[in-house]
Amino acid sequence: MSDFHGMDDLLQDFLVEATDLLSGVDNKLVDLERAPGDRALLNEIFRGFHTIKGGAGFLHAAELVTLCHLTENLFDKLRNGELEVTPEIMDAILDATATVRHMFGYLERGVQPPGAEAHLLQDLKNAVAGQVGVAVAVPAVALAPVMAESLAATGPDWHALHAAVTGVLIANNGPASRAANVYVAEASSTAFGRRATDKPGNIQMSGRREGERVRETAIRVDTARLDQVLNLSGEIGLTKNRLNALRSDILNGKQDGETLQALDAAVSQLDLLVSDLQNAVMKTRMQPVGRLFQKYPRIVRDLARGLGKEIEVELAGEDTEIDKTMIEDLSDPIIHLLRNAVDHGVETPSERLALGKPTKAQVRLEAHQEGDHIVLLVSDDGRGMNPENLRAKALEKGLITDEEANMMDERQSLNLVLLPGFSTAAQVSDVSGRGVGMDVVKTNIQKLNGAIEIRSTPGKGTTFTISLPLTLAILPVLLVRLGEQPFALPLSMVREILPVQPDEIQEIGGRATMVVRGEVLSILPLASLLGWEQVNAPEYGVLMQTAESSFILAIDAFAGREDAVIKSLDDFRPKGVAGVTTLSNGQVVLILDIKELLASRGDTRGVSRQALLAKLAEAA
């Protein structure tokens, strides 16, 4: 049930805008740590909280108003020079920002946020009053007896735990107890090395919270782009009128050259306008990736601080535009990659000093467009990865066999880190290294029809390259034929096309294979993947590359390539079919989901040479 009945629109608007604002504030806070006396910066941060407070008031989010108000007061004093930024004040401010973000989480779910933790409010009040450094984290010792006691009962008593950590008793149940849940989990896991008050900046980044995050449904579009859409649809209307007039002319028997020429001109104009309109509509969904990047410097800062590392985040290409849905789906993978870079990639300052590197490590996040792809780079100048070590580790964990390990090249070895259950950190830290995450990164990227590649130089650093299609709505496909039936394959998986010569087919281990430039690849006939009978001997092979393997898909013929507009089959989705598209002649074609086809088949061992060539022999 929503606490915001009748204000849903307003709430959406507020959240979109305020979240942006808060990300901006977060970044400015990171800058502020470097330049604590910068008045302009202080002023901007002040205004951020002030604006959020104003909006929250209209939503009757009293707790949010209270928190913002206190923080704003603090900044008022800071910007007027009455107070100076101290590490304690900074901690309180960062804590406040994190809590504001947490409250946004409640608003997103249509629930009034519970109050901020009392010690935070007290910290802020103390800071405003000029008393600094009063906040003391409750010693971890206090936690232990409570934990033991409550665990002895039916399970952890979150209220008692929360009370032990924060020194506050939760009065009401409802959302507040859920909040306690989150806070305690974080506070206790970060108890050593970090102060309990020093929460990671973005609570959402702890990811896997009961999947309660609601997708943003509102989008901000530049009015110029909307105007363009409007303009184009108007012109299409005019062209339609022209066509209507021509139609009645033609139906009335007027079929002279002039009329037909006018018809031709009108149709080509419509053609142009429609593709322009498609582009323009697509553009309304495009958002600068900077909105996504904004929140990362803060996250990295918090992580680095917790681990005692010095890291500078460099952002580049924030203006690059990506489809909005992709921006949302990219958020978690990039956080994982950054966490990894901070935790595993970058060395501690003393290690770096010993290696003759600058103590401050660089983590770089970059986006740019390459043809019809968007490329995202996450790189660090840390210790890099050693393919040898990775193979040994994977072997030890039983993720690969001895034989596989011996056959792996450097690229494949590096890709091992993307396997589920792979974690190179000898000790599991609270930041990363649970062996989950990297495989999630890969799955998420693949869901977006993207690919991820790893390059690493031991001692120099690691770069993760994510390449993504510009949009998810249009998919370049290769049309292949099996008999008379066309099928579409995502072009992103196609490496090359080659003829299948019977005398080049060899049988290894009972399956048909071909050697392509020294690489032994098994041949899988499309017919057998689909469960069809092989009618003709295949004439062509498509070298398909998935993240795990490469193979040759044997087909009968080609029908060209096309930019398919995907219609997804929402209610009815046969296995192995990603969607359908319509060809220019009106024919409906299935777009195949090769990975699913391979998986549904269970074994990908292929067929024997004989089975493959039986028909050929028959024909000959």
Binding site: L10, L21, H50, T51, G57, F58, H60
Partner: protein, 132 residues
């Protein structure tokens, strides 16, 4: 003087807030509303003419509400315009500063259509009294 056709300029850097004010004005029957995202933009729009009423936020980048108010009062072509200040501050010194700069009214966030209506009618009354 409260002509439903009169044209409002709502000035705020926060789009959500502009929308809130616009909706409240609409509730009160004023549908002719234009928006500006800071004082500098607002001043430009006002100089273009055609506006009858300004509702402005205080805290904005580039040119804040108080500066806008001062600029409006200093401009003979605009000086007559009623300016209603909206702010989250109920501090005495702020209210005094606004009054000294010649604000026609002062309203503290958050407010309801009722409060806004009350402030507006007070301003209209004053104007009518002046005109009479």
């Amino acid at each position: 003087m409260s002509d439903p056709k009169m044209k409002f300029l709502v000035v705020d850097d926060f789009a959500t807030m502009r929308r809130i004010v616009r909706n409240l004005l609409k509730e009160l029957g004023f549908a002719n509303v234009d928006e500006a995202e800071d004082g500098a933009v607002a001043l430009q729009r006002l100089q273009g003419g055609g506006f009858d009423f300004v509702v402005t936020d205080w805290n904005m980048p580039n040119m804040d509400g108080l500066q806008l108010l001062q600029a409006v009062r200093a401009n003979p072509a605009l000086a007559h315009l009623p300016v209603l200040m909206i702010t989250a501050e109920a501090k005495k010194e702020n209210i005094i500063a606004a009054a000294q700069a010649g604000a026609s009214g002062y309203i503290v966030k958050p407010f309801t259509a009722g409060t806004l209506s009350e402030k507006l009618s007070k301003i209209f009354e004053k104007q009518n009294a002046k005109a009479a």
